[in-house]
């Protein structure tokens, strides 16, 4: 055999090893895992909110995978129990994340169920958490002189709304928040699911 074919075949076999370990075996083991009990598929509004979460890049600062107590005090911070594969049965694309510039969000819906808090926090995080480095998202809101019927008005802490104006949440902001509220994997896992 010529040396270049030997080289390329060898190289592809090596890549094959890696792909079977990291792609094929996990595919067989967990791609079709059943949802953990108590989980519901996302509604279409929540899915649109998930799109917002992706398109605005929330995942680059927030993970969605609380770790076990043996590794990190995630549960003590109120981030929830260690997650299992079944918790992600409806999650495509996955949003596990690799950074915790901000807190883990897999259970944010259980931890912070207030729509108003979330909307206000997206408009200006520093109105709620001084020193936060989360970006503000003013482009998800419109500023009006007066609310019109059907508008969702955001009630910000004193001094954070532009003087004499009201802050209205766009449909995108509302969808995003409904996705955040759907993030709740606090139901216990049965032994065979973990």
């Amino acid at each position: 055999m010529k040396s270049e074919s030997r080289l390329l075949i060898g190289a592809m076999v090596m890549l094959g090893f890696a792909a079977s370990a990291l792609v094929v075996i996990p595919y067989v083991q967990v791609a079709n895992v059943a949802p953990t009990s108590g989980m519901k598929p996302y509604t279409s509004t929540e899915l649109r909110g998930r799109e917002q979460y992706i398109s605005n890049g929330c995942l680059y600062c927030h993970s969605q995978q609380p770790r076990a107590a043996s590794l990190a005090p995630d549960a003590k911070r109120g981030w929830g129990r260690a997650s299992v594969a079944g918790d992600y049965a409806f999650d495509t694309p996955h949003l596990l994340g690799t950074m915790r510039t901000g807190p883990d969000l897999l259970n944010i819906g259980a931890r912070q169920p207030s729509v108003q808090w979330h909307l206000g926090h997206l408009y200006q995080p520093r109105a709620y958490v001084p020193g936060s480095i989360m970006p503000s998202y003013p482009y998800l809101f419109v500023i009006k002189d007066q609310a019109e019927p059907g508008d969702v008005v955001v009630h910000l802490p004193e001094g954070n709304a532009p003087a004499g104006k009201v802050v209205i949440a766009t449909p995108e902001a509302q969808e995003l928040v409904s996705y955040l509220l759907s993030l709740d994997r606090t139901h216990p896992v049965r032994a065979q699911e973990s």
Partner: protein
């Protein structure tokens, strides 16, 4: 039998197979000299420095250093060898030039986006009115402009230049690569635009929508055509180690990219493991081999001394191919993935020490006694430092994968520091060095302002040092704070602030370096600057030199 036992035995088996494989390819793995290493030189040419990046007087000084180090005065290369090389260089000129122009453009785009993202991280209310300028998108634009713009355009351009030289004949089918590169850049422009307007696939490193990815695949395959054609008609017997790296990189990438982007196939947690199989391998099996190929070619070529312990490079190559592929899982440590997968990744990360040591020994022995040449050759300075940083970043990566270290650094800015040690301090510096060598051969002009090269070198290396140190220290403190249940989460945020600011400073220096480099390149293209003499030397003795 439990999964872990199956896995352990599979690992042992494949490892043994790897050893047998390497052994079957070559005996005398540790012997110090080997004829294979000499193929980058013409007959009698060993001992002749080649450094087109400097003026002829400096080239002369460099040659004297080399003479002193080798203890002999080498004869000039034969006219026929020089003719072959000139023909090889000429054949690749159009495609290399095109790819380099694109590389420069993406380097500047990526720098601007990266700098803005870095600044936004400590000034979160800066430029927030427009969706496309939000942190999440600018950061992603930065990553994609580097990952699919700067790195592949520079790396493939270098490969296109080196291949015909190593295969001893003009490049065949360069037109295909040209078309491929054009498609590739069109794909990247639309990919970045789609990220900016908020349409993306949601996977880190794989954000560009799969509909556009089809173009990348077509472009990538076209770029591989000249490799295949030229390999088939090569004029040399032995395939030099750089060819292995470049050929495999060109074949690995499309396979990984296609597997990773098949729509609708990957789901849930499996998608996450696939994501990091890809995300890590695009570094280890695409940029890294392209950069190592450049080190293995240019470093010995500049100092006119073949790679020492050449056979070790075999170990380095197959070790990288085998171990690196499986290390990606450590990105999911503590996550909802099977435990064996993490263990496997940690083991393979540690095994990566082997190929890295092999490379380091090669590099050290080759440069040994020739360090004074660093003063005279900018190519060597960039590539020497870059090579050293390969060792540093790989060792850092191996230890970072260990559970005890990873528990702290995971999810923190430390990871970002590490990735810039790899992709910038190693890969990018090596590419810079190679470009300093190649551009004069392509434009047929000397670099007009040697001072600018020095400025670029110092800006980039000091900048990246600040960058990496700041993020590693800051990230470590962040991780410690996060692991301490007694501290509120916000402590882990506030502790990083000074380090995030330092990172912006480091990044700004790097950016300044890039501006210098790009300006210098523009001077060459438009023929500005003091020296305008003809083709740069191919390694002939400078006129009037003894």
């Amino acid at each position: 039998m439990s999964t872990s036992v199956i896995l352990a035995s599979a690992f042992v088996l494949s490892f043994v197979a790897l050893l047998v494989f390497i052994w079957s390819q070559r005996h005398g793995l540790f012997s110090r000299d080997s004829t294979g290493a000499n193929v980058i030189f013409g007959a009698e040419e060993i001992g002749r420095a080649e450094e087109p990046a400097v003026t002829s007087t400096a080239a002369h000084a460099l040659q004297q250093q080399v003479n002193r180090a080798s203890g002999k005065i080498a004869a000039p290369a034969s006219a026929s060898d020089l003719r072959t090389r000139a023909a090889a260089d000429e054949s690749s000129t159009p495609v290399v030039f095109f790819m380099f122009c694109a590389a420069f453009a993406w380097l500047l785009v990526a720098t601007a986006a990266g700098l803005l993202a870095s600044y936004k991280l400590h000034e979160p209310d800066f430029l927030t009115q427009h969706a496309w300028l939000t942190f999440g998108r600018v950061r992603t634009l930065h990553l994609n402009a580097v990952a699919y713009g700067w790195a592949p355009m520079a790396g493939l351009g270098i490969a296109m230049f080196v291949l015909p030289r190593l295969l001893g004949r003009p490049l065949l089918g360069g037109g295909f690569a040209m078309l491929g590169a054009a498609l590739w850049n069109a794909a990247l422009i639309s990919g970045l635009a789609s990220i900016a307007v908020g349409i993306n696939d949601g996977l880190e490193w794989l954000e560009i929508p799969w509909q556009i990815d089809v173009l990348f695949v077509a472009g990538g395959l076209l770029v591989a055509v000249p490799l295949v054609l030229t390999l088939a008609k090569r004029k040399v017997e032995h395939l030099y180690v750089s060819v292995w790296y470049m050929a495999c990189a060109l074949f690995w990438f499309p396979v990984m990219f296609v597997v990773a982007n098949i729509p609708g196939l990957h789901r849930g947690v499996e998608q996450a493991t696939m994501n990091w199989w890809f995300g890590h391998n695009v570094l280890g099996l695409f940029y890294t081999p392209l950069a190592l190929a450049a080190v293995y070619y240019f470093l010995p070529k500049v100092i006119g001394r073949p790679v020492q312990s050449y056979n070790l490079s075999l170990l380095g190559f197959w070790g990288l191919a085998f171990f690196y592929g499986q290390v990606g899982g450590h990105h999911l440590i503590g996550g909802p993935v099977p435990a064996w997968l993490i263990t496997l990744s940690i083991v393979q990360s540690m095994m990566m020490v082997l190929p890295v040591i092999a490379f380091t020994v090669n590099q050290y022995q080759t440069l040994e006694g020739y360090l004074s040449a660093l003063r005279y050759s900018p190519t060597l300075r960039f590539i020497g430092l870059g090579g050293l940083m390969y060792t540093a970043s790989s060792l850092q990566g191996s230890f970072e994968a260990l559970r005890s270290v990873n528990a702290v650094t995971h999810f923190t800015h430390y990871t970002v520091g590490h990735s810039h040690l790899g992709l910038y301090a190693f890969v990018t510096l090596v590419f810079f060095g190679a470009m300093y060598f190649i551009v004069p051969r392509v434009t047929r002009r000397e670099w007009p302002y040697p001072r600018l090269i020095a400025a670029h070198f110092w800006l980039s290396s000091i900048g990246v040092a600040i960058y990496v140190i700041a993020l590693c220290v800051g990230g470590w403190l962040q991780g410690e704070a996060m692991l301490d249940a007694g501290k509120p989460f916000m402590d882990s945020v506030s502790v990083t602030l000074p380090y995030l600011k330092a990172r912006t400073v480091g990044g700004a220096l790097m950016g300044l370096g890039h501006l210098v480099f790009a300006t210098h390149f523009a001077c060459m293209i438009f023929n500005l600057g003091p020296r305008r003499i003809g083709a740069t030397l191919l390694g002939e003795a400078p006129a009037g030199a003894p």
